[in-house]
């Protein structure tokens, strides 16, 4: 249901402004509603706080800390108590400390980045020279010089020829020229030549003159012979990951120690900033200030009592109910009992309903699991849903996850009940093993009865939606809406009467009554919505037919489960047969989980809520201490 709201105006003396705003912040119930014409002020103080908040968030990102959900109120309170001076006085101090801390963190991050770069180069060098290892060892054993060059593949023979010719001219010494080359995946070719130390400059000159590129070991292992460089590379390959791990450990320990502290500080700065902005935006004179907003009627008494007790004559409060003209401005706060509250999730995906209209949460809570369970219609899958829902409710970290778990719980119960009605337990396993028969019908054989039942469900659901729309029209004194919905209901009832009138004993009564209702219904539809109203009426018939998906999806799920069992029949009770059957059951389970939820949601969003729901409301955003990371991150 939609909570009743009151307009609350808070006048206070300028001297107690900060304390009153802090109290309102603590109360967390007032949706502040400042006129749009009030400009947003940017004072140096607010900018400092914004800067501080940004730094804190930046440091949390460097630390890789993201445990907002686990941040306890105690940690925040502890940080609050350590800040004995007013926050604006210690902003500078915090800022200086943060700068030092940030430098240290940045140092870690830079060092880690640089080590990663070096490791990458060392790995590349190792990959490059490992092919030449035997050749290098042989050359060094013979005391020869080594030189590596990147060359074009087609030029290798040319280089070798030139080198041989150059060495042949110098017959005074034994050159012992030999070479080895390797082509890498990217078609580059690395050639390694070994020759006596004296002749090495001659060979290098040939490569240089032809535009070849020299390969050298990374500078961390350079300036030494190739064998030593290789040893160095292998040593670095072992030591660098250990160094990176040690930085990671240090960062992780720092994150565990400092993350909650910095996050608490971030929250406190964020709250302080919010209070400052509210104070700046309030309608202020020299001696007093005014804050106005909307507050749920059920929290009004507590709020007014608290303010009066704390501030006595320094605060003046005035409250009233919203006038009809103001309904479009009033924020919508939903309040539902714990059993149906999880289903507010479906409404939260839309814009909220307008104030003083209808909150469909309770109806969604009633019909959503019923429809989804009917689509699944298998006690075996229902039991798995039940286990999954209990697990999600126990392990779910966020409220949304726990809500999803509760919704799944409802779906699982209805799946089991419908499974008993259809006699399905992982398809026809219960029938095969225990000769269990359906309480109602077997879906895979009695297609038509299930389809007729689905459409009947749809008719009832759509009529209910239209009825809610009609009530809304009456309450809002909206004649067009009222006539249109009433006409639509009459047209649908007339069609059912005419359909029933074609057969049966009441044909003589139903046929003329149906004709009269159809005429009246069309007149009301035209009166309410013109030609659009008539089209809407036809659309309602399509909406009702759309519920046949309950039978269609259920039928496909039932047949797929039976196909799984058939595989065991065909392949026998073998590992392969059971594997195939299990795979199909897993596929069917996932399809049932996703399909039943999505289609049931669609039936509510399009067919049911489309008849009365208008998401023209405003979100209720109370001025409260924020404790959810999504809100912080959005605003940061």
């Amino acid at each position: 249901m939609i909570r009743s709201m009151m307009r609350l105006a808070v006048w206070g003396t300028a001297s107690s402004k900060k304390a009153i705003i802090e109290t309102l912040h603590d109360l967390g119930a007032l949706h502040l509603d400042q006129p749009a014409s009030v400009p947003r002020h940017f004072t140096a103080e607010a900018d400092e706080l914004r800067m501080l908040r940004g730094k804190l968030l930046g440091m949390l990102e460097i630390l890789g800390w993201d445990e907002w959900e686990a941040l306890s109120e105690e940690a925040i309170s502890k940080t609050r108590t350590t800040l004995t001076l007013p926050l604006d006085e210690i902003v500078g101090e915090i800022d200086r400390n943060l700068d030092q801390f940030r430098e240290r963190l940045s140092g870690f991050a830079k060092r880690k980045e640089s080590l990663r770069d070096v490791l990458e180069r060392i790995r590349n060098a190792h990959d490059t020279v490992r092919y030449f290892l035997p050749f290098i060892k042989e050359a060094e054993k013979e005391g020869k010089g080594l030189s590596f060059w990147w060359v074009d593949r087609k030029d290798v023979s040319k280089y070798v020829r030139e080198i041989r010719e150059a060495l042949r001219e110098d017959r005074t010494r034994e050159t012992g020229f030999s070479h080895m080359s390797h082509t890498f995946r990217d078609e580059r070719l690395l050639i390694c030549v070994s020759v006596s130390e004296e002749e090495l400059p001659v060979i290098e000159g040939i490569f240089q003159n032809n535009g070849a590129i020299r390969w050298r070991p990374p500078r961390e292992c350079g300036d030494q012979d190739m064998s030593a460089a290789l040893e160095c590379i292998e040593e670095k390959l072992e030591s660098l990951p250990a160094e990176i791990r040690s930085i990671d450990t240090e960062l992780s320990e720092t994150s565990v120690e400092w993350g909650p502290k910095l996050a608490s500080l971030f929250i406190l700065v964020d709250e302080e900033l919010e209070e400052k902005l509210i104070a700046q935006r309030s309608d202020s004179a020299e001696e007093y200030f005014l804050l106005e907003g909307w507050i749920p009627a059920d929290t009004l008494e507590n709020a007014t009592r608290t303010l009066k007790e704390r501030f006595g004559a320094s605060v003046f409060l005035y409250w009233r109910y919203p006038s009809t003209d103001e309904w479009h401005e009033v924020p919508t706060a939903l309040s539902n009992p714990p059993t149906t509250r999880p289903y507010q999730l479906f409404i939260s995906l839309l814009r909220p309903p307008s104030y003083n209209t209808f909150d469909p949460t309770s109806m969604v809570a009633l019909f959503f699991p019923f429809f989804a369970g009917c689509m699944v219609g298998d006690a075996g899958y229902g039991s798995l849903f039940l286990a999954l829902s209990l697990w999600i409710q126990r392990k779910g970290h966020s409220q949304t996850a726990r809500d999803v778990g509760k919704i799944l719980f409802g779906v699982s119960l209805w799946s089991i009940l419908w499974g008993i009605a259809f006699g399905e337990f992982f398809g026809d396993i219960a029938q095969r093993l225990f000769n269990v028969h359906p309480l109602w019908v077997e879906r895979s054989h009695a297609v038509l009865p299930v389809m007729v039942f689905s459409v009947s469900l749809g008719a009832a659901h759509v009529l209910l939606g239209l009825f809610v729309g009609f009530i809304r029209g009456v309450r809002e004194k909206n004649n067009h809406l009222r006539n249109e919905k009433c006409g639509n209901i009459l047209v649908l009832l007339a069609l059912f009467a005419l359909l029933a009138g074609t057969k049966g004993t009441f044909a003589r009564v139903l046929f003329p009554a149906g004709g009269a209702m159809l005429f009246l219904g069309v007149v009301l539809l035209v009166a309410g919505g013109g030609i659009g109203g008539v089209i809407e009426g036809l659309g309602s018939v399509g909406n009702i037919l759309s519920y046949v998906r309950i039978a269609a999806i259920g039928l496909s799920s039932a047949i797929l489960a039976m196909v799984a069992s058939k595989f065991v029949d065909i392949l026998g009770v073998s590992v392969f047969g059971i594997f195939i059957a299990l795979s199909i059951h897993v596929l069917n389970f996932v399809l049932a989980l996703a399909g039943s939820g999505l289609h049931s949601a669609r039936l509510h969003y399009v067919e049911f809520m489309g008849k009365f729901y208008e998401g023209n409301g405003r979100d209720y955003v109370p001025f409260s201490r924020r404790r959810r990371t999504t809100i912080w991150k959005k605003q940061s």
Binding site: L350, M451, G542, S546, A552
Partner: protein
């Protein structure tokens, strides 16, 4: 022969709307993903828009079942 023709008719009754639905959902889905990335609050509307073309294939399924039950 007659049964084969009925089976083909039923298959076409489901298959053709299925192709049309797939095409429409692909277009709506890609546009919807972009919209939700920009404005997460439109997720509900996008689910509705994404689900609308499914009615074609559901009605095709009804026609197919009718064909089979009536004539096969």
């Amino acid at each position: 022969m007659e049964k084969a023709i009925i089976a083909i008719a039923a298959a076409l009754a489901v298959g053709l709307p299925a192709l049309a639905t797939a095409y429409a959902q692909a277009k709506i889905g890609s546009a919807g993903a972009g919209t939700v990335a920009e404005k997460p609050e439109t997720a509900g509307t996008m689910i509705i828009l994404e689900a609308i073309p499914e009615t074609m294939v559901i009605l095709g399924f009804v026609v197919a079942i009718m064909l089979i039950l009536q004539f096969a």
